[in-house]
Each structure stands twice: as structure tokens, then as C-alpha cells.
């Protein structure tokens, strides 16, 4: 079996937002599947990790939820980005890119750090 990694603190929200931006309204299962697949199955989301994170985003107004019917005709709760969420995603994505870029430089072998 693959070696699963824990989701890094604080990054899950960003993954959820990005997923919803890419795929549009989606239920919790879909979000989890998408994140796991995108991570190359390195991440695994159980309910206890996923749902409190969705709840927090909803409480903060970044996403909204609504009961609907899934592609397989199953009742499911769908989550979608709100306008505030979209802005938050933009901002956090930028921050993230910047942070990784900075960190990345430390690990580039041919860069002269002196």
C-alpha cells in the first residue's frame, strides 16, 4: 500500500477551495476523491479531517452548501465557492506561490547563497 501522508496544517482549506474552483459545486466525497487523486494518492482524507474543514470554510463564508442530487442520483450535500471564497483563494494561492518560491530557492542546488 502507498505510504500516506497527513495533510499539512492549513493547506487543506486551500486544496478544498482550489478543487471547488476547478470542478464547480461538488459534494464532500467528490472533494475528498479529487484531493486524493491530485496528490497521487499520497493524501488520504477521513471524515474527521475533511468535514470539520468544510464546516470551518462554510462558517467563515468562503463556501456555501446545499443539498442536491449526485450524478448517480444519490442525495448529497454540495459545496460551492462564494465570492468571498474566490477572493480568498486568489489571495492564498498567491501567498502560497510566494512562500514555496522562497522556500524553493533554499533548496536549488546551483544557486549561490552566499
Amino acid at each position: 500500500m502507498d505510504k500516506k501522508v497527513d495533510v499539512w496544517q492549513g493547506t487543506l482549506a486551500l486544496m478544498v477551495l482550489k478543487t471547488l474552483e476547478t470542478l464547480g459545486p461538488l459534494h464532500g466525497y467528490g472533494v475528498a476523491r479529487r484531493i486524493e487523486q491530485t496528490s497521487g494518492n499520497l493524501l488520504s482524507l477521513n471524515y474527521g479531517t475533511l468535514y470539520p474543514a468544510l464546516l470551518k470554510l462554510e462558517q467563515e463564508g468562503s463556501i456555501a452548501s446545499e443539498w442536491g442530487v449526485s450524478e448517480n442520483n444519490r442525495r448529497a450535500k454540495f459545496y460551492m465557492l462564494t465570492r468571498a471564497g474566490r477572493k480568498q483563494l486568489e489571495r492564498e494561492a498567491r501567498d502560497w506561490a510566494q512562500a514555496t518560491a522562497i522556500l524553493g530557492r533554499f533548496f536549488k542546488p546551483n544557486e549561490d547563497l552566499a
Partner: protein, 883 residues
Amino acid sequence: MRTLRGWASRFVGLFKQRYRYKDMAEEFESHLQMQIADNLRSGMTPEQAKREAVLKAGGLAGATEAYHDRSTIPFLEHVVSELRFTVRQLVKRPGYSLTAVFVLPVGMTASAAIFAFVDAALIQPIPYREPARLVELAETSDPLAIANLSYQDFNDWKRSQTVLEFVDAFSGAGFLMSTRSGAQPVIGGRVSAGFFRTLGVSPVLGRTFTRNEDIPGSPRVVLLSYSLWQDKFGGSKNILGQRVLLSGNAYSVIGVLPPTFHFAPLGSADLWTTINPKDSSCEQRRSCHDLFAVARLKGGVSPQRALSNLSAIAKRLEQQYPDSNRGRGVSVIPLSEAIVGKIRPVLLVLMSGAALLLLIAYVNVAGLILARSEGRRREIAVRGALGASMPRLTMQFATEAFVIVAASSVAALVLAHWGTQALKTLIPADMLPEMPFVLNVALNTRVIAFELALAAMAVVVFTATALFHFSFSDMGKGLAEGSRGSAGKGWRRVGARLVVVELATAMVLLVGASLFGKSLYQLLHVELGFRPDHLATTEVGAPDNNYGKDEQSIALGRDILTKVEAIPGVQSAALTTERPASFNGNTDWIRFVGKPYDGKHIEVNERDVSGKYFQTIGAKLLRGRYFTDDEDKSKPEVVIINNTLARKYFPGEDPIGHQIGDTKLSPKSIKTIIGVVDDIREGELDSDIWPAEYHPFNQDPSDYFFVLARTSQEPQAVLPDLRRAIQRLHGDIGVRDEATMEALINNSETASLHRSSAMLVGAFAAAALLLGIVGLYGVIAYSVSQRTREIGVRMALGAEHRSVYRLILREAGTLAVLGIAIGAVAAIAAAMFARKVLFGVSSWDPQSLIAVAVLLGFASLVASFVPARRAASVNPIEALRAE
């Protein structure tokens, strides 16, 4: 912002639990089903698909908890669940909860309402700049601790002192303001020019007086009060520079004072002019005293130091002018003291009364909590055994106390709001100007903070009561079968002590109420020396320009008396310069012809009265004769003295025929005593009788006086006619303040203060009696319920009903007697403390003590009779079977 929104929805989440769980469970289920479906699609067997899906989901319990913690605020949720539990518990026992929530507000309301008055009068600063440095200056004389100041003395003080930054004189003055509808009497203040600077008050319009506006020859200027400006001048901005005719002199308006400005020592002054020594002959004589002064102490100077500085000056003046200044000292009191000094002891007594009532309320509820926790002993023991920790139990007790106290506090605040409004109406309207702080009585933040502090204290006390109780009883015992009997006994002991405290406190309040009631009665039935019933009175003022000469004033007086006596229902009418039962003062210094005189001032009340004055007010002539109407300057000068003067200066002699003169016995001043009248109470109801002399009005006439009319019908009905009759004489005569003598006495400051005290302490006492009796009933009833089996056994063994009655009543009787005895001792001590505000009763008043003891004893008997009856009607067989 996002975080805030998050917390807000988590807070809301506290209250949507059930719905959320259903939602979450459905979501988890749909997730699981989709997972299973996908697993099946990827080729797993149904069992395997399900197993994998469940594994993937992770611990469901953990997920639920994580989700839950995220959806609410866990700490608050804990508190809320505790609150819910408590409220459920309280609702289940409405008797207990309602009693507590009825009892507590009674005590809290009384305290908060009285505190609102204490706050307004004693805590809020008086509304002037740096009020702590303001003092009121006055002179002292032998009979008077505070006597008016003479203008000459004031000037000498002002010149020589080294302790005051500013000092200014003031005095009240009546003016007749000419208006389109005739002369209107207005109350004004006459002040020296710096008065408003000394207080630190600026006008809303125009300016205040400038230097030199109070020296002879300066133009006449006037400042208007805000209300006069609004009422009489429509609040017009063009008022500045306008002329106002006051008692025949033209004044120009220079400014308007702020609406909040008031100066209690002068009551409700409507306008302010400067002291102009030329206007008043009094101010040209050092021996004439008509002023007070207000001063701002220099920084760091205490009133004591100011007093010693000014006293030294007064000593010097005494040597320099022995004739006028002999025995004249100095009084320096903080201005705030001058304003609230009289009401302070009353407020402190009332606050103590409210505190006692609060104590009873606390004790009563503490008793209830004890009784209830007794009934919960097993429940608590079970909770303890199941692992509820001490903090958790504390939390539970505290929550219960909190819920009870919170509900009570809300009720108390609402009631206190009404209460303070109602209390304000107890104060007669004409007393308000002298008690301006009453306007500031409100449930402000300080009062609310006070109430919250009381509430917090209650929560702590009640929690501690419950904890204290349980820390002393072994939890394990609570689980033991049949342990209730012994535990009940323990509670009975504590409860009994509480009831003794309650009864003793009730006793104190009841005795207090009785003393205040008695003192009010004594005050209103004090020997007046005249008959106040069927007397209508009014104040009359006429301008000096038209009525100032003696013949003019005499003619005015005669005309008014003729018109007034013509009013149907008026039997006789008279004039006086001061109404009886108003104040001691307006005095004269006298000396007796042919008696040794040591130069010490003999100060006596002086009143100028018309011929039928004594007959009209119903005073009793002891010797000699009354004045006659034709006794004017053309006849020998005569005087009638009161009995106190006669006894003091003519012991064992007949004073008739003796002569009185001024301190120098100047020939013009010599008058012959023609009569002795029984003492008429000239001063306030609670003040002493001073020696007094009465002159015929026509020998010393004035254009300002009071008219008194004895009526055959209700005097109230005559008042409008009285005013009309006098005003019809001439439009320039001012009439004000018409009232019946009885109303004046009933609404006098002393009577009002006594009445408010009596009513409030009476109300507190009634509440205390009720709470004390409820407490006693509670203890006895509980005791009976706990002893049902014991009583059953006794009866089975042959005890008669009577002996069961005796058993229960003895228990109640012991408590009542103990409470009454302790209360009696405490009541005497408390009455000593309240001595200052009592009148005509001693603090050790056996009548009150006995009456209250009997009342309390009887009430206790009634309260314990009901449970005793229940005990006596116990069916022994059922009682034995019940346990």
C-alpha cells in the same frame, strides 16, 4: 473579519444542535454510500466494498466529535448545557424557584432604589467647577449655628483673609416683575459680582456680572434663569440688552444661565442681580445680617484652616465693633455639606434599612437553597459517585445561583426604575429646588454596577452556602438507605439559625418603622400654640415706590384685610411678617429697661402682626391684652412677648408694663410689654421654641407680608378668592404661594423627610415581616415533613394531638423567642444610630418594642400553626408505612 464571522456562526451553532446532527449523519451516510458504489465499480465484493469504505472513513466517533467541536464553542456549550440543566431543574420546582425569584428582588430593589438617591445626593459631585474647594461661609451667634452674614463683615472678611481664592456674597430676594398681566412675584438672588466665577458657571447666552457691577451707582443688570427665559421671554435670542422692570426699577438683561444650573441654598431663584448696598438699608449697617457667602478655597487649604483664618478676623471685628459684633463667630462648611447635610442622615438610615431587608432576602434564599440541596443529597451523592468532580459540582451550584440571581436582578432593575420614580414623587414639589440632586436620581451606570455587585455577591454566597453544606456531609452517607432522617436534622439546625437571623432582622426593621411612624406622629402633633386647621395663607409683596412709605404700607394692609374679610367663609384675617411654623430667625437684639445688661446679645424672634393676628391663628393670650387695630406710630409703642421670653427674663414677675429696647436702649426703640402670649411655634416643627416678641404691624409696617385668614369652610376652597381679592385691589400687587396652613405644615421639609422615612422603613419592615414569617414557615414545615415518622411513632405509642401541637409549636416558639430577643437588643442599638432623625421618641421605646414583639410573636404562631396542624393530623399507620 472572516474569523469573526466564524465565531459568530459557531455561537449560533450552540443553539442548533439537533438539526446539525441529523444533517451531519446524512452527509456521512451519503459519503459512505458513494464510496461503496465506487468500490463496487472497481471490482470489490459487496462485503469488501463496505469494509474498505468504513475503514477509509476513519473513526466515526472521532469525526463526529471533531465536527461537533468545530460547529460550536465547546466551553460555552458546556456552560449552556449546565444552564439548560439548571433551568430544567428550576422549572421542575416552581414553588422553590418562584419564591427565590420573588424574595431576592424585594431586597435588591430596595437597595438599588435607595442607592440611586445616595448616589445622586452623596456620591455625584455638586455641579460646579472643582466642587471640593467650594465652601459656604456664614456667621454664628448664640442661638444659631449658622446665622446670616452682614455686608460690612463680609467686606472685612474679604479684604483681610488669606485662605480664599474667591469669596462672594449671596442672598435671596423677592422681586415683583412687571408683566403685561400685572405684577408677578419672582424669587431672585442678589449676589456680589464674582459669584458665578467663584462657582465656575458660565452662561448659555451673554455674560455674567463683571467687576464693579456691584458697587453703588453701577447700572442695574440682571441674569435670567433658563426656565424664566423660556417661560416668560419665549427663549428669544434678542433678550440681551432688553429692559425688565423689577419692583419698579429697570434692569437690563445681560445673560441667561444654563438649564442645568441651580444653587440649592437659594432654592429656585428665577433671576439674579447684584448686591447693591444702596438698595438695602440693611447692608449699610454692620448689625444687620442678610447674607451668606460662598468661597473657593485656595489650593491645599482645608476648611478648618479657612475657619481659623476667618475666626481671627471675626475676633478682631468683635473688638473693633463690640456693639454689633459681640458673639459673632464664623461658620465654614463645604458647599456640598450645606446642600445635602440635612438629608444625609436620613439617606444613611434608609440605606441601612434597605441593607437589612437585603440581608433577610439573602438569608431567606440561602435557606431555600439549603433545604433544596438537602432534598438533593442523594442525587448529588450519585453524581459524585459517578465521577462528578468538586469543580463540576461547584459549577452546578454556581450555575443554579446564577440563574436565580440573574432572573432576580432583571426583575429588581425594572422594579428599581419604577421605585426611584415613585420615590421622587414623595418629595413635595416646592422642596425640589432645595434638593436639586433629586433631578439626577436615575439608574445610571454606578447604580447598575452597585446592583451587579450585589448580584455577584449573592451568587458567591449562595454557591458557598451549598458547597459549605456538602463539604460537611459525607457524600457516601447520601447513598445509604434511610439516611434522610439524620441529614434532615443537620439541616434543621442550620435552617433554624437562619430563621433566627431573619426574625431578628425583621424585628429591627419593624421597631425602626414603629419609631419613625411615632416620630412623624409626634412631629405632626407637636404643640404649635395655634390652630392650623381652617387657616388659609398667602404671601403678598408690593413695590416700594408705591407702597414703601409707612402710611402707604398701613393703608395697603388695611385694604387687604377689609377685602379678605369680605370673602364669604372668612371669619377673620390678619397680617404677619413671617408665617408661624416656618423658621426661627428674622431676629432682633433686645435689652430690658431696668434690668442689668452684660452686653451679650439677647436674640429673639421678631414678628410684626396686625391687630387680630393672635385671635385669627388661635393663639392663647396668657396675660394682658391683644393689639388693637388703631395702634400705630401715634400711640405708645407696645409689644407682646411669648411665654418663653417671659419665663426666661421675668422669672416670678409679671412682665406686663416692663419695657424693651434695643441694645443701647435708644429712646426711639423703647416699647412697653402689654401682653404675654402662649408659645407659638415659629420655627420648623422639630426646632426649639425661641423667645419671641410681636409688634403691631401698624407701628412697624412693610409692603411685604403674609395674609392669614380663618375660614368657616374648607380653607382650600378660599385660596383662589384670596388671591383674586388682593390682586383686584391694584395690578401692581404681587401674590404668591397661597396655601392652607395645614398643607404648609404637612409638606414642610421636616414633615416630608420624616414621612418619607416612615413610609420607606415601614415598607421595608412589612417586607421583612413577610420574608421572616415565610422563612419560619419554611423551616417548621420542613421539620414536620422530616419528622413525619417520628410523629407517627409517637402517636402510635399514644401521644395526643395536643402534645403533637405542643411539640411543633415549641420548636417554632423557641426560634421566634430567640429571634425576637436578639432583634430587640439589635433594634435598640440601631435606634441609637438613627437617633438624629427621630423626633419626640427615645431610641429605647418600650411601647414599640413590646408592640413589635407581640406582632412578630403572633405572626410566628400563625406561621407555625399550619404545619403543626398537619403534624397533628398525621395518620400513624400511613406515617409508619411511608418510610
